[in-house]
């Protein structure tokens, strides 16, 4: 794997990873998501990167594992007093404050919309990561079409969104997940997310807080 990666590939790889991480935080692990992670060498690949999702994740009976993951997801992100997955809570101490409205406005102004019957929160971590997954996909498309100016503009938006919406809280949030979760899956996924986002921000020239170790 020594070949040079083109801009299009980079954007696409990032996009996919954003979408994967988004899926982790968006809702409980579904049977399909679990199977795809277990079957297609994802676990092994992560292991190669030093990310170990644990024995249970690899071997436990599927139904039992899904139950366990779902209970942990609830404990972390749904039941009171877990690791709140909402930007507004970390920034304003309440659900659905300005950051949520601003995130929604950001999506709109980039030409994206959430489904009509969307009952979630626009500033939930999974939604914000999904949005970045979509933005980077647009970037990849632009590169593919050779539209460098457009790609650069999209990258500016990525940068703006990361800076405005994720920089200030996401690392504290991920630290919190790592600190309180009982399952290696969420701990390691939080770690992966943290490292990935650090890299993203550094690469896009966003200065990280001193607190991000």
């Amino acid at each position: 794997m020594e070949e040079r990666l083109g801009m299009e590939e980079i954007a696409e790889g990032r996009s996919r990873l954003y979408l994967i991480l988004s899926r982790v935080f968006l809702k409980e692990v579904s049977p399909e998501f679990l199977r795809s992670m277990r079957e297609k060498g994802f676990v092994e690949y992560l292991k190669g990167l030093g990310i170990d999702l644990g024995e249970d994740f690899a071997n436990k009976e599927e139904k039992e594992l899904l139950e366990e993951l779902a209970a942990e997801y609830t404990q972390l992100f749904i039941a009171p007093a877990g690791a709140s997955p909402y930007e507004s809570v970390w920034k304003k101490g309440l659900l659905m404050q300005e950051p949520a409205a601003e995130a929604l406005a950001f999506y709109k102004r980039c030409g994206f919309k959430l489904p009509e019957d969307f009952k979630g929160f626009p500033d939930q971590i999974g939604v914000e990561l999904s949005f970045l997954g979509h933005l980077t996909r647009e970037e990849a498309r632009a590169w593919k079409e050779g539209d460098e100016r457009l790609a650069t503009e999209v990258m500016k938006l990525e940068r703006e969104f990361l800076k405005k919406h994720l920089r200030k809280w996401v690392f504290d949030f991920l630290d919190c997940v790592m600190a309180i979760t009982k399952l290696p899956f969420y701990r390691e996924m939080a770690r992966l997310t943290k490292e990935f986002l650090k890299g993203e921000m550094e690469d896009l020239g966003i200065k990280l807080d001193r607190s991000v170790a």
Partner: protein, 907 residues
């Protein structure tokens, strides 16, 4: 390999390609093509939707941060509540909310809200949950219901509510299932007040005309801060001070802000309001200050009878009682009793009493309530300008068809040994379940937190709901993880009050109104109105309508239900029905708020006038057609029903009693061996106190409800702890200094808290507020966030705390207090008024001492067995108990022939 950027990209490009991420991929759709504009820019920054107008819309609603039900306006921007204010069209509220109301948006945006259905996965109370879909949760609940129904015992399904303002759907649900096991919360609140009043004049509450009153005697009510209708009423009392020269005299064990704002305050011994009112009544009667014509015309007794009856209640006796069994300082002198009685009567009928809800929270609280009400009857200030008026409410409808009650009577709902307590005796329910008096298989809890708010708390209700053999299935509709809900098996999160449709009407001023709540924002997450949840449960229980249940749930949305409730109401119909209320929040609109006067003015600019003398409305010819007048009583009957009363040749509608007169003498009480006339009885345990003992009472702050506001930031910052108020003299004698740790020991347990020394309390009383000291109900209420700091503080990394959920809330950095208070209910025994069924909150005998070695602030211990003993002791005062007759030697009836306790479908 390492976690490098290159590896991340490769991870996405290789392993990541096969993952099933449709959920995140499908989350966003493109609304438009992404391409550069003519100016070379990708997006137009001016499209930022967060800028622009100050508010997008203003939505009227009815507040339910507490039960006063004020009219509010929600200012909405980008789908978010920016602020809440009073509705200036509301005749009671007049544009003003109290602090709890203003802070109402915190109920919506509380980060500790429950937003999805949860199923318990660990042992009860372990805090282990799994999110489930609505469908799954409802199917499970429905299955459990079907199991019970198919065995033929619908009463084994119990529903208990705390604050039920949803317009009838809870009762509809229970009756649809055929269950009568419907339990409320009234016995920990005002039930004995209601029972003191209802048999006497019909309604369960009064609406005094404070603004026009010249004299108010306030018995145990913190009316400027916390009592019923405190927001509308405090406005009227201030108006009275400014414009009517109103004098306010307050009897309260504690110097509340109301007492402080009164012209006179008397710190009386708990529960002696009744004897003081009787002594004043005696003065009024013997000195000829009564409105004798009113008494003779409008009551079922004569002045002569009353004079004879009242003679026994002397100011001397009242003075003695008011000081307490040891003649402490405080109380009221006989001279003041006489003086106040004269002053009160001298301005009749522009005078009124008020009581909420000190006097009635005693074991003979119903008597107390009646005694104070009598003062108004004696001087004839009933329904007069400036007087003691009837409540003016308005009704809405129940969608047709309405299910009939179940077939079987429920012991828990209508306990046979409390036949007069028609507002139930709910706080004793755990003991009765434990004793097997009625079985419960499913317990639904709605807007209720008995493990915190009821006497005994964890040691009584906690004992009950922890025990799966007593409560096999426990379902909560709560949007918050309360002390009670944390024990639930399934949580079906309700929308909070600003997200719901609910009809309202409250007699909170002399202008009757109808109003409603409507969602000012959409329910957060998957929270859903309980009415809709109930419908979905019924749809699952009776999918094909074969059980005959579906027909009672014939509405297409929560709004459709409320629309049906407001259909066809005369007057409202003409202006647009529900749509009118939706738009204005309230109907009728009497006028505009005049900012200069703070009052509502009519179209011509004059202050709107109240109607008085509702009982003196004359019956029309048409009303009288076919009517019959009882010669002896004057009661007018039509089709067997009393519709009015003939007095001096005039046909009046009268009062809501069987004779349409005021029943000073309540015969129904006598039937069960209670005194039918106004009397005062002191709890024997107060009369027999030992010199080193004190009485524990509780109270409510202006910024808090009993249990639902401790996590509201604006309010918690104002009040977050509850030191025990204790008289400075008393404390000195016990060697207690301000701020000292003290131990308060009752017959069932003890608590360790801090002392707050004050002159503003009766020397024999220790008072602890109930709003603080949570052990659930969100992180702020428990001060859990304070236990650990954010991850970074002043440039220094703090080790990752072991407590979950820390560091998230930036407001927590501003929490400057580290005292969450100590809750007293665990050490308060559950005892019921044998007449009205009310919990005797204000008569717990305790010992107060300096904390012992090893005592820690916040220690609370209570023994469930001791609670049980107290409950048994309390039942001995019920009419079936062995102490009842001893307490009523003056009642001359055939005591051998008391009615047998009867299990009935009833209240």
């Amino acid at each position: 390999m390492e976690l490098t950027r290159r590896n991340f990209v490769k991870l996405g490009l290789t392993a990541g390609t096969t993952l099933a991420v449709e959920d995140s991929l499908g989350l966003f759709a493109r609304a438009m093509e992404m391409k550069l504009g003519g100016d070379g820019r990708l997006v137009d920054p001016s499209e930022d939707l967060t800028k622009g107008r100050r508010y997008d819309k203003v939505v009227p609603y009815t507040c339910l941060a507490c039960n006063i039900e004020d009219g509010g306006l929600a200012y909405i921007k980008n789908g978010r509540i920016e602020k809440l204010e009073g509705n200036p069209k509301h005749p009671s509220t007049r544009g003003r909310l109290c602090p709890k109301g203003n802070a109402g948006l915190y109920h919506v945006y509380d980060p500790d809200r429950i937003l999805y259905p949860l199923r318990r996965t660990g042992p009860r109370g372990s805090g282990q949950w799994k999110r489930v879909s609505w469908d799954e949760a409802i199917s499970e609940v429905a299955e459990r219901i079907v199991e019970v129904l198919d065995k033929g015992h619908p009463n084994e399904i119990m529903l208990k509510w705390g604050r039920n303002r949803i317009g009838g759907a809870l009762v509809r649900f229970m009756h649809t299932l055929g269950s009568n096991t419907i339990i409320n919360h009234t016995s920990i609140c005002e039930s004995s007040k209601k029972i003191g009043m209802e048999p006497t004049w019909g309604p369960d509450i009064e609406t005094p005309d404070f603004a026009k009153s010249k004299y108010i005697i306030n018995f145990g009510s913190n009316i400027l801060e916390a009592a019923y209708f405190h927001n509308p009423y405090s406005q009227r009392i201030m108006e009275g001070f400014a414009e009517s020269g109103t004098k306010l005299v307050t009897f309260d064990v504690r110097l509340s802000n109301t007492a402080g704002r009164s012209h006179e305050w008397f710190p009386i011994f708990p529960g002696t309001d009744g004897i003081i009112a009787l002594a004043m009544g005696n003065v009024i009667l013997q000195e000829g200050l009564a409105d004798e014509e009113f008494i003779n015309d409008w009551t079922n007794v004569t002045v002569q009878e009353l004079k004879e009856h009242y003679r026994q209640f002397t100011p001397e006796d009242a003075e003695r009682a008011s000081k307490g069994p040891f003649g402490d300082k405080g109380g009221i002198s006989r001279h003041d009793i006489v003086r106040i009685a004269r002053e009160f009567a001298s301005v009749k009928p522009y005078c009124t009493t008020y009581s909420y809800r000190g006097p009635c929270k005693h074991a003979y609280g119903s008597y107390n309530e009646k005694c104070q009400m009598m003062l108004n009857i004696l001087v004839g200030s009933v329904e007069s300008k400036g007087g003691y008026c009837l409540p003016r409410g308005m009704g809405y409808k129940q969608p047709e068809p309405v299910p009939p009650p179940g077939h079987e009577p429920s012991y828990l709902s209508a306990p046979p040994h409390y036949p007069l307590a028609t507002h139930k005796v709910s706080h004793l329910v755990p003991f009765w379940i434990k004793e097997g008096r009625q079985k419960v298989k499913i317990y639904f809890t709605y807007c209720d937190n008995p493990v915190y708010t009821n006497p005994g708390a964890e040691a009584v209700w906690g004992e009950l709901v922890r025990d799966e053999s007593l409560i096999p299935f426990f379902v909560s509709f709560s949007p918050f993880m309360s002390e009670t809900t944390r024990y639930a098996d399934i949580i079906l999160p309700n929308a909070v009050y600003l997200e719901r449709y609910e009809p309202e009407s409250m007699p909170s001023s002399l202008w009757p109104w109808l109003g409603a709540r409507q969602p000012v924002v959409k329910p957060m997450g998957e929270a859903q109105e309980v009415r809709w949840t109930l419908k979905r449960i019924i749809d699952k229980v009776d999918p094909d309508g074969k059980r005959g249940m579906k027909k009672y749930w014939n509405f297409s949305s929560p709004e459709d239900y409320i629309r049906q409730q407001f259909e066809g109401i005369p007057g409202l119909k003409d202006v647009g029905g529900w749509e009118f209320i939706k738009k204005h929040g309230v109907w009728p609109i009497y006028g505009e708020l005049n900012p200069a006067t703070g009052k509502i003015s009519d179209a011509l600019g004059f202050e709107i006038k109240a109607e008085y003398g509702l009982h003196k409305k004359e019956l029309s010819r048409a009303d009288m057609r076919g009517a019959r007048v009882d010669r002896r009583t004057g009661t007018i009957y039509k089709k067997g029903k009393p519709i009015g009363v003939r007095i001096k040749g005039k046909n009046y509608v009268g009062f809501g009693t069987p004779t349409r007169k005021i029943h000073v003498k309540v015969e129904e009480w006598e039937k069960y061996g209670f005194n039918p006339l106004p009397v005062w009885k002191q709890e024997p345990w107060l009369a027999d106190m030992k010199p080193d003992e004190m009485v524990l009472t509780t109270f409510k702050w202006n910024v808090h409800t009993q249990s639902r506001t401790a996590s509201i930031k604006w309010l918690a910052e104002i009040v977050h702890s509850n030191p025990a108020w204790i008289n400075a003299d008393t404390a000195r004698k016990k060697g207690i200094k301000d701020g000292d740790l003290i131990r308060i020991t009752s017959g069932v347990g003890y608590m360790v808290t801090k002392a707050r020394l004050t002159e503003g309390i009766h020397p024999r009383v220790v008072a602890v507020s109930t709003a603080c000291g949570h052990w659930a109900y969100g992180r702020l209420a428990q001060l859990k966030l304070k236990e650990s700091q954010p991850f970074w503080s002043k440039g220094q990394r703090i080790p990752v705390p072991a407590k979950p959920g820390v560091g998230q809330d930036p407001d927590l950095k501003n929490v400057w207090w580290n005292d969450r208070g100590v809750h007293p209910n665990m050490i308060i025994p559950a005892i019921a008024d044998p007449i009205g069924g009310s919990q005797a909150w204000y008569s717990t005998v305790v010992k107060v001492e300096k904390a012992r070695p090893g005592d820690r602030y916040g220690d609370v211990k209570a023994d469930p067995d001791k609670h049980y003993e107290f409950f048994k002791m309390g039942e001995r005062y019920a009419y079936t108990g062995d102490l009842h007759r001893k307490m009523h030697p003056e009642v001359k009836i055939n005591w051998e022939k008391l009615p047998k306790p009867e299990l009935k479908i009833g209240h």
